[in-house]
Structures are given as structure tokens and as C-alpha cells.
């Protein structure tokens, strides 16, 4: 059995290592403590990292808990970022924007907005793990539904879809 302080350190270590959000149930199972205790410690970590001397933070989203940098330090991180990103094409970005705001969304719905076929670009986005299938829509033809993934959040530095600018309600 871990001391509470060790437990907190262990959670911090797990959050650090995980590159994507972790579920609170999974975390509590891995540590062998209750979900309740895990949640309390996570809250402590969140408020500690929220203090201004820290450049990183712990955030909670629908997908779980994750550690990431604070947005205000983006320039310094970007200056030192060596990861060679394969830039996404305009077609891919437009398709992603539609999926992000309209999800879950079908291919015909995306095509209606973009005015072109998107099968190829959509398959590429699924292959790269930026978009995933999520069931079928209950309309004739039963088209697949698509949603964005944790990898989407990673690539665009988003903690939740609320980080994206609001789309005007009236087109």
C-alpha cells in the first residue's frame, strides 16, 4: 500500500508517461486505490499545477486526464519543437474542421458542405488516427459516422473541443 504522497507521485508519473488522456477507472485500477481517492489526488495535482510557477498543467476532459503545457508558453515550446510534422493538406484541414464541429458526421454530410468527394481524404485521416468511425447513422444507406480522436487533440494542441473558436450559429 502506498502512502498518499507516494500515490500522488505515482499518478504524476503515469500522467507524464501517457501521451494521451487516461481514464480515472484505469488509473485507480493501476494504482490499486479507489476511484474516489484517485479523483481527490487528481484534483490536488490540477490545482498545484495551475499555480503560475508551472508551465505545465493537468487537465480533465471527456476523454480523461492528461498532462500538457499551458497555452501561454506556446512560443517557447514551438521554438524548440523538433518533431517533423507531416503537414496536413488544405483538403484534410477542411474535412477535419467539419468533423470537429459537426461530429458525429457522415461522409455525405461532409461532402455536402465541401462540395467535393472526400472518401480519399477521410480514409487518410482514419489511417493517421485523427478521425475514427463511431457507428452508423440511422438513415437510408446507414452511412458510417465519424468523430475526432485524442490524436486530433494532440496534433492541434487542444484540451477540449471548447478550445476551438465558436462557429457562427447562422451561416
Amino acid at each position: 500500500m502506498l502512502l498518499r504522497q507516494e500515490l500522488k507521485a505515482a499518478i504524476e508519473a503515469v500522467l507524464f508517461t501517457r501521451a494521451e488522456p487516461i481514464d480515472i477507472e484505469e488509473l485507480s485500477r493501476a494504482l490499486g486505490v479507489s476511484v474516489q481517492d484517485t479523483r481527490e489526488i487528481l484534483q490536488e495535482l490540477i490545482s498545484e499545477y495551475n499555480r503560475s510557477e508551472h508551465g505545465i498543467q493537468v487537465v480533465e476532459s471527456d476523454a480523461g486526464y492528461t498532462m500538457c503545457t499551458k497555452p501561454e508558453y506556446f512560443r517557447y515550446v514551438n521554438n524548440t519543437n523538433r518533431s517533423v510534422t507531416r503537414r496536413l493538406s488544405q483538403a484534410a484541414l477542411e474535412t477535419l474542421a467539419i468533423v470537429a464541429y459537426q461530429q458525429p458526421v457522415t461522409r455525405p454530410e461532409i461532402e455536402a458542405i465541401r462540395g467535393v468527394r472526400v472518401e480519399g481524404v477521410l480514409n487518410m485521416l482514419v489511417d493517421r488516427g485523427l478521425v475514427a468511425e463511431a457507428g452508423r447513422k440511422d438513415v437510408p444507406g446507414r452511412p458510417l459516422l465519424y468523430v475526432t480522436t485524442a490524436e486530433f487533440l494532440r496534433i492541434f494542441g487542444i484540451t477540449s473541443l471548447d478550445d476551438l473558436p465558436r462557429k457562427d450559429e447562422e451561416a
Binding site: E20, M67, F74, L93, A97, G135, L164, D168
Partner: protein, 247 residues
């Protein structure tokens, strides 16, 4: 045209239209449809060699534009009854599509800026190369729920039952066939047919495209002539009389 832009430079017909609207410095909510249509048609006529996969969507829009243009030229019906809704501007639907597409185009450029780190954003930890290997599914945790499973099954049965109620599109429609069909259907000038009437019994986008391509080809070969009779404002098409070819 005084500028050189290739069709491939545009993401699709809506993108090309937005470009033309911007270039002409006109309001998206009051598009001078005749001017824009002419420029649009001139543009795709120059790009007819481009790959057909893309061209299909551009041509479909061309048909839409031509149709709107001719409807704009029709005298507007006067609204007598107050209760009756005012007649819709023929451009209405297109304007809505353009406005919506423009929004997503802006959102896409916002995403691009985030991807490039040009705007405030968070960064997650890079995954070290050795960990990446390790992370390759040793144990894959499947994320799925029982209700999804049941839904999938029920829907399959549903589909099986409904199998014959939704006719599926039957393969590709042949442009050559459509050319033959047009040569048979079109009256010989001076008799002619209204452009839109050609599309009345067309049921799929592919078929509409094939028909439009066939028409373009016949116009190019000068076997068909498209005439806009100002009196009525409609575009009419008819066969060029065979013995009447220009000397």
C-alpha cells in the same frame, strides 16, 4: 483570363466560386450571377484536361450556375397574396452553401495555425522513439459498449429487411451513351429545348454529370448550339442542322 490559376489550386467548386467572388470584390449575399457564371465556365473550360475525378464536382456546379442564371432572367412573379411567401431568390441556396463553406475554410486555417504553433495552444509530450515501439499494442484495450453491439445487430436485420426498398446507383453512367441519347432527344434548330428540362428525369449526380459532359462535348464539336433567347431568358439547346454547317 488575365491570371493563371489551375483548377487543382482549388479545393472544389465552392472554393473556386469564393475566389471569383473575392476577385470581383462583390458581396457574397448579392452575387452578380451572370458575371460569375461566365467567369466560372471560362475557368473550367480552360481546365477540361484536368483529372475527371475532380472535374465532376466542378461541372455539377456549372450546371447549377447556368440554371440559376436563367432563372434570374425570368420575370419575377408578383406576390399578390400577403400570406404567400415571397418567391425565393434563385441564388438563396447557393449563397447559404457558400457562406457555410467559407466558415469551415476559416476554421481550417485556424487549425493550420494551431498545427504550426502560430497561435496559443497546448503541447502534449512527445512520444520517445523507444516507447513508441513499446506502445505498439501489447494489450489492446477495446473501447466498445454492449449497446453499440446490439444496435449494430438490430440495424443489420433492419437493413436486410429493407434491402430492396432503396435502389442502389447502378455503376457509372457512360458519357458516350449520353451523347447518343442527346443526339436523339434534342430537336433540330431552330426548334430547341430548355436546358433544365434535360435534367428533369435525371436521378443521380453521376448521371447529371455524364449528361452535362456530353452536352459540353457536343457544343465543342459544334453539333449542338446553346442559345439564350433574351425574350424569355432561358437557355435553350438544339442540334445544329447537318447541311447547315458554316462554309
Amino acid at each position: 483570363m488575365d491570371y493563371q490559376v489551375r483548377l487543382e489550386a482549388f479545393e472544389g467548386p465552392l472554393d473556386l466560386l469564393l475566389h471569383l467572388i473575392e476577385k470581383n470584390k462583390v458581396d457574397i449575399y448579392d452575387i452578380p450571377i451572370a458575371v460569375i457564371t461566365d467567369q466560372y465556365l471560362a475557368f473550367i473550360a480552360d481546365s477540361v484536361e484536368a483529372d475527371l475525378e475532380n472535374l465532376a464536382d466542378f461541372l455539377l456546379m456549372a450546371a447549377t450556375l447556368v440554371s440559376i442564371k436563367s432563372r434570374m432572367l425570368l420575370p419575377r412573379r408578383k406576390v399578390v397574396d400577403e400570406d404567400e411567401e415571397a418567391e425565393e431568390d434563385p441564388r438563396e441556396q447557393l449563397v447559404q452553401r457558400l457562406a457555410l463553406y467559407r466558415q469551415y475554410k476559416e476554421l481550417a486555417s485556424h487549425l493550420a495555425a494551431r498545427e504550426e504553433g502560430e497561435e496559443p495552444r497546448v503541447y502534449y509530450r512527445e512520444i520517445p522513439a523507444d516507447e513508441q515501439e513499446e506502445v505498439v499494442p501489447v494489450e489492446v484495450k477495446l473501447e466498445v459498449s454492449i449497446s453499440e453491439l446490439v444496435k449494430a445487430f438490430q440495424a443489420l436485420w433492419q437493413e436486410k429487411t429493407d434491402e430492396f426498398s432503396y435502389p442502389l446507383p447502378q455503376g457509372d453512367v457512360d458519357v458516350g451513351e449520353k451523347i447518343a441519347e442527346l443526339l436523339q432527344r434534342l430537336p433540330v434548330l431552330p426548334d430547341a429545348m430548355v436546358f433544365q428540362d434535360l435534367f428533369w428525369d435525371v436521378h443521380s449526380r453521376r448521371e447529371a454529370l455524364a449528361l452535362f459532359l456530353a452536352l459540353l462535348e457536343l457544343v465543342r464539336q459544334r453539333r449542338v448550339r446553346a442559345v439564350q433567347e433574351e425574350q424569355f431568358g432561358c437557355i435553350v439547346v438544339g442540334l445544329q442542322p447537318e447541311d447547315d454547317s458554316p462554309a
